[in-house]
């Protein structure tokens, strides 16, 4: 082995010699797995706004959990339930559009969370709730996260055909014995679980990045669902690991680095899609 190569390998391996970074690595891989796969259904089903709303709407739950010293997962779950209920109730108010209702409910909840967070009894780590604390992942967090991710992946695997049929032709799905309403409910439930897992690593404000960006990027360059999911997971993993290196060597916040790389990945895919279209277009013009 040449000394140069040894130096590079050492630089690559060194950050992960610590338990803290090893746990962070596992956490970002979990997020890549659930974000890349579920993200495809979110992007195809036009649920990106729903993902964002759930993530923000759960904020008071997270703050209350932090104040009370109970596990964030618990507070997050309660927060998501309240957010979903608030959105459903707001949507029933006459004379207000669905998107507007969601926006009002979510902003109210987020403001409430901020109010709680800025109270005199402010606990440490409010910043972690907003921007995530992937380096603070504990073994218990990892275990709970892995269990939830497993549930989401299994549900998606079993429901694959029905999700596909309902997404492909919503009005025709009923004739195949599929209830579009049940499909929506399943996707939203899985989305809530995924947000719950991802909020630990990326925080309230950045969680949407891992659920939307890799799938949106993969969609631009693939034309079948299986490769789209595989590519989205790979993109999520690369951005996650890259973000950890960036944070280790450049001393940037890990969550922000990961989110930044995810968005950069999307922009690259966009560029690739545009150039291939231009090339195709010029080939057609020449032929």
């Amino acid at each position: 082995m040449t000394p140069a190569l040894a130096t590079v390998l050492d630089a690559l391996a060194h950050p992960f010699s610590q338990g803290l970074m090893q746990r962070a690595l596992l956490e970002v891989l979990l997020l890549a797995a659930v974000g890349g796969t579920l993200g495809c259904w979110i992007v195809l089903g036009g649920l990106s706004y729903g993902a964002e709303s759930l993530a923000h709407g759960m904020f008071p739950g997270l703050v209350l959990a932090a104040l009370a010293g109970v596990p964030l997962l618990l507070g997050g779950a309660a927060g998501i339930l309240v957010a979903a209920l608030a959105v459903a109730l707001a949507g029933r108010v006459r004379g207000i559009g669905r998107d507007d209702a969601v926006a009002v409910a979510v902003t109210t909840l987020f403001g409430l969370g901020a109010l709680l967070a800025l109270s005199p009894a402010t606990p440490v780590g409010i910043q972690g709730l907003l921007f995530g604390d992937v380096l603070g992942t504990t073994s218990a967090d990892l275990l709970a996260g892995a269990a939830l991710v497993a549930v989401v992946l299994l549900a998606m695997w079993l429901a694959h055909q029905r999700l596909l049929a309902a997404g492909f032709d919503r009005s025709g799905a009923r004739a195949l014995g599929i209830s579009p309403f049940a499909v929506d409910a399943l996707l939203l439930t899985l989305l809530a679980l995924a947000v719950l897992v991802a909020v630990q690593g990326l925080g309230n404000l950045l969680v949407v990045a891992v659920l939307v960006a890799p799938a949106a990027a993969a969609r631009l360059v693939t034309r079948r669902l299986a490769p789209m999911m595989a590519l989205a997971v790979a993109l999520g993993a690369v951005a996650g690991i890259g973000g950890l290196y960036l944070s280790y060597y450049a001393r940037i916040a890990a969550g922000a680095s990961i989110a930044g790389l995810l968005v950069a990945g999307y922009l690259l895919a966009r560029l690739a899609a545009v150039t291939s279209q231009v090339r195709k277009g010029s080939a057609t013009a020449a032929g």
Binding site: L44, Q161, G167, R174, A175, R224
Partner: protein, 291 residues
């Protein structure tokens, strides 16, 4: 994800006021040699508690028959199909099915930007026959490929659905219905937007499928086409007429079916004037592909 069966099984009993999936005519029946695939008697269908939007429908579909379903938009064609598929319950009358119904929707209802292959779409036809926890088996895949081959698309199985031509997409959806082992196919304006070659090919396929003993109901606005098939069913809020095209498609029937939208063209034979329907206004589909 409900486990509701689509179409119908073949074992339920006939009961008044309900849609049933039953063998029509028992062993003691002295009726026609060929058992009807579908029988509707004084059928009325509507939505929820509102008054039925389609009344008094009485017709039978025999194996091997192609029936054109004529009527204006909003006249009840889609409602009738939804009742046959079991999505709507009859408000009055009876509906008896001797085999599974499968729908072949308009191709533009589906999302053309969706990342599915022709094979993926055909494979969706195996969903009704499978419990929710079971993934498609090898046999399911074989059936889906066989159905694609049956409609002449064996070499297009791996193509992206949205990149196929309109006629090919329509045939993929027919393959999906065949995978459901449907004996009755319900086609919703399958010829709209097709060029002459694709339309001829589709019409030949429908003739073949009918020839195999299936029953085919085709919602259409094309009178000339309807005249070539076995029966016509004219609906406009209620049944206007049912019978062989030559006798059923009178000027009065067409006027009652389409209201003012009908014009009479001078034909070469003064005894058989041509009727034509003003081009229908196409309703907007919210599943049209974006961008």
């Amino acid at each position: 994800m409900t486990a509701d069966r689509a179409g119908g099984g073949e074992d339920a009993r006939v009961a008044a006021g309900r849609r049933t999936c039953a063998r029509v005519g028992g062993s003691d029946s002295t009726g026609p040699a060929r058992q009807a695939l579908l029988t509707a008697e004084k059928l009325a269908v509507g939505y929820e508690k509102a008054a039925p939007v389609l009344n008094d429908v009485t017709f039978a579909l025999e194996p091997g028959e192609r029936i054109a379903v004529l009527g204006p938009n909003g006249g009840g064609k889609t409602t009738l199909f939804r009742a046959l598929l079991g999505e709507l319950r009859p408000a009055h009358g009876t509906l008896a099915l001797a085999g599974r119904c499968a729908s072949v929707p308009q191709t533009e209802r589906s999302r053309l930007d969706f990342p599915v292959s022709a094979l993926d779409v055909a494979l969706m036809g195996t969903i009704p026959g499978r419990p929710w926890w079971r993934r498609p088996s090898r046999a399911d895949r074989v059936a889906a490929r066989a159905a694609l081959a049956r409609v002449g698309l064996a070499d297009r199985a791996e193509r992206t659905y949205g990149e196929l031509s309109g006629g090919q997409r329509q045939r993929v959806l027919i393959a999906r219905a065949l995978v459901q082992e449907a004996r009755v196919l319900l086609l919703d304006e399958p010829f709209s937007g097709l060029d002459a070659t694709s339309a001829a090919r589709l019409e030949a396929l429908l003739a073949e499928l009918a020839g195999e003993g299936r029953g085919v109901l085709i919602a259409t606005h094309d009178l000339e086409q309807a005249r070539r098939w076995d029966r016509v069913l004219c609906v406009n809020g209620r049944q206007i007429a049912f019978g062989e095209p030559a006798t059923a498609l009178t000027h009065d029937v067409l006027a009652a079916t389409y209201g003012g939208a009908i014009v009479t063209l001078p034909g070469e034979d003064p005894g058989a004037p041509h009727h034509a329907i003003m081009p229908p206004h196409h309703h907007h589909h919210d599943h049209a592909p974006p961008r």
